[in-house]
Amino acid sequence: MVSGTVFFQTTYFTDAAYIVAFSLLIYGMGGLTGPRTAVRGNKIAAVGMAIAVAATLLTPGVWHGTSTVILIIVGVVIGTAIGVPAALRVRMTAMPQMVAIFNGVGGGAVALIAWVEFRHHFEPGYFPLRTEIFELFGAIVGSVSFWGSNIAFGKLQEVLPGRPIKLPGSSQTFLNIGLFVVAVVSAVVLCAGVHSQALFILGILVASAALGNMVVLPIGGADMPVVISLLNAFTGLSAAATGVALNNTVMIVAGMIVGASGTILTNLMARAMNRSVPAIVAGGFGGAVAAPAAGGERAGGAVRSTSPADVAIQLAYARQVVIAPGYGMAVAQAQHAVRELERALESRGVVVKYAIHPVAGRMPGHMNVLLAEADVPYDLLREMDDINPEFSRTDVTLVIGANDVTNPAAKNEPGSPIYGMPILEVDKSASVIVLKRSMASGFAGIDNPLFYDPKTAMLFGDAKASVAEITAEVQAL
């Protein structure tokens, strides 16, 4: 091959290019601190990644042999052929699934790379122990992430039922611990350098695959924001571990950025649900919980239902209207209809704001993206802590497909399973209109006293159709 003295093919060049690459990645991600700088930041990060790939391809030996060249091209072409159309076509309502499957794909790549490393460097003592440990960490965490993400994708895409699927009692926990032990023991045995290595590599991959399935299957739909964030962190950390094993600084830095991001989001989401991450991973929340006091608590009164015409009058003559969207808005694809309503109200001089709960929807920031797609300016969207003091000054709050995040039981009923969870205090506004398909309870399976509040009116039906009818009535006034 080409002699190593060509500057582009020295390790100095690769190292220097890697430093430029990871600096651009960090700088680019820093752009995400504001919507104005974010587009540019994303592009800068992409340039960083391109430099990392180019420098890697220029590393001596990488192009050794024609089959290598062909195989690399085949891999890149397949990846491009799948990735580009997916990215260009995906609807914003399907973003949670997209992010889940992308997490999985990354974790899968890490696991495959670790597998090849181990198969290839079969001879005991080829790898120093410390490198093996990182490689095995990558293999286990990467494949947990791969399989877990696939299950999360299945649930979000509604290929699998969204409710928790779980073994009875604590047997699920024991099974998960057992699988984890099998994976770790196989890893330890491998490090000790046994002869039947293939068997133990398979043991790691199978056990962590089963673990990934078992951990995500019992988790209910409403806990998805936490799970997706957690899997994101896993993929990042496994990539960083593989980076250490391969002595590749860009992989380490990029992996750790993703690991940090996933960890931050996981904590934010868990805090917004007032639940610990281990409790969520243990699963089974929602659906299975038999709403304990469901019958007794309804003393507050009957549910009052209303019509689009009445809602339109109420909204049109209000000074301030707050819209609190939830997953129901995503399911009904109602974001554009909601934007129309907002415009109709604004043209009548009504102040309209949106109240966004951190865990509304199925992933961090889900509502923000949907409303951005519908051209809602981001400065109309208010975070929970900013909007809560405003509800007392609000004439009408329109709850669209949100349930648990508005449930006053989280504040008032110490016995409630969601007691302590921070909520949007919609019950403080002068009147509340809830758009809902039926009286079914939310994912937590808990009755919502908000619906029985005398100042609440329910408008049953498909959110998109209901909002469109209200808009038509407002415009006709």
């Binding site: 601190t33 397949i78 990215a87 990029a254 992996g255 931050i264 951005a372 051209d375 400065d379």
Partner: protein, 122 residues
């Protein structure tokens, strides 16, 4: 080898702190683009596939690596593209000609609809 490992570990730890402080500043509004952006960034594992391709032997290892490279490419290209698309949708309230819509809505706010609202609701 020993010192390389120590350097790698140092980079790992420092990158963790840098990542934490950079990402902590990302507002809730941008959490979905953040997740899809990090999807693109963990696509960096494609480098592992590229680096190992020439040392692999046998069809199994080659197939595994081709899949790994394909997966990594999906992440990198798909992730950056979808993030770009998504971020393009985030718009403020027309900062340049912000005065015009503001003027349009402000007189309306103060004038008739607001007072009449009280009467109509009663």
């Amino acid at each position: 080898m020993g010192t390389t490992f120590v350097i790698d570990l140092s980079v790992l730890v420092l990158a963790g702190f840098v990542g934490y402080s950079v990402i902590s500043k990302v507002p809730n509004t941008l959490h979905t683009p953040l997740m899809s952006g990090t999807n693109a960034i963990h696509g960096v594992v494609v480098l592992g596939g590229l680096l190992l391709m020439h040392v692999a032997s046998g069809w199994l290892e080659h197939v595994l690596l081709v899949v790994a490279v394909a997966f990594g490419t999906i992440n990198v290209i798909g992730g950056f593209l979808v993030t770009d698309r998504m971020l393009g949708m985030f718009k403020g309230r027309e900062p340049a000609k912000g005065s015009e819509p503001a003027k349009a809505s402000e007189p309306a706010k103060g004038s008739e609809p607001a007072p009449t609202s009280k009467d109509d609701r009663k």
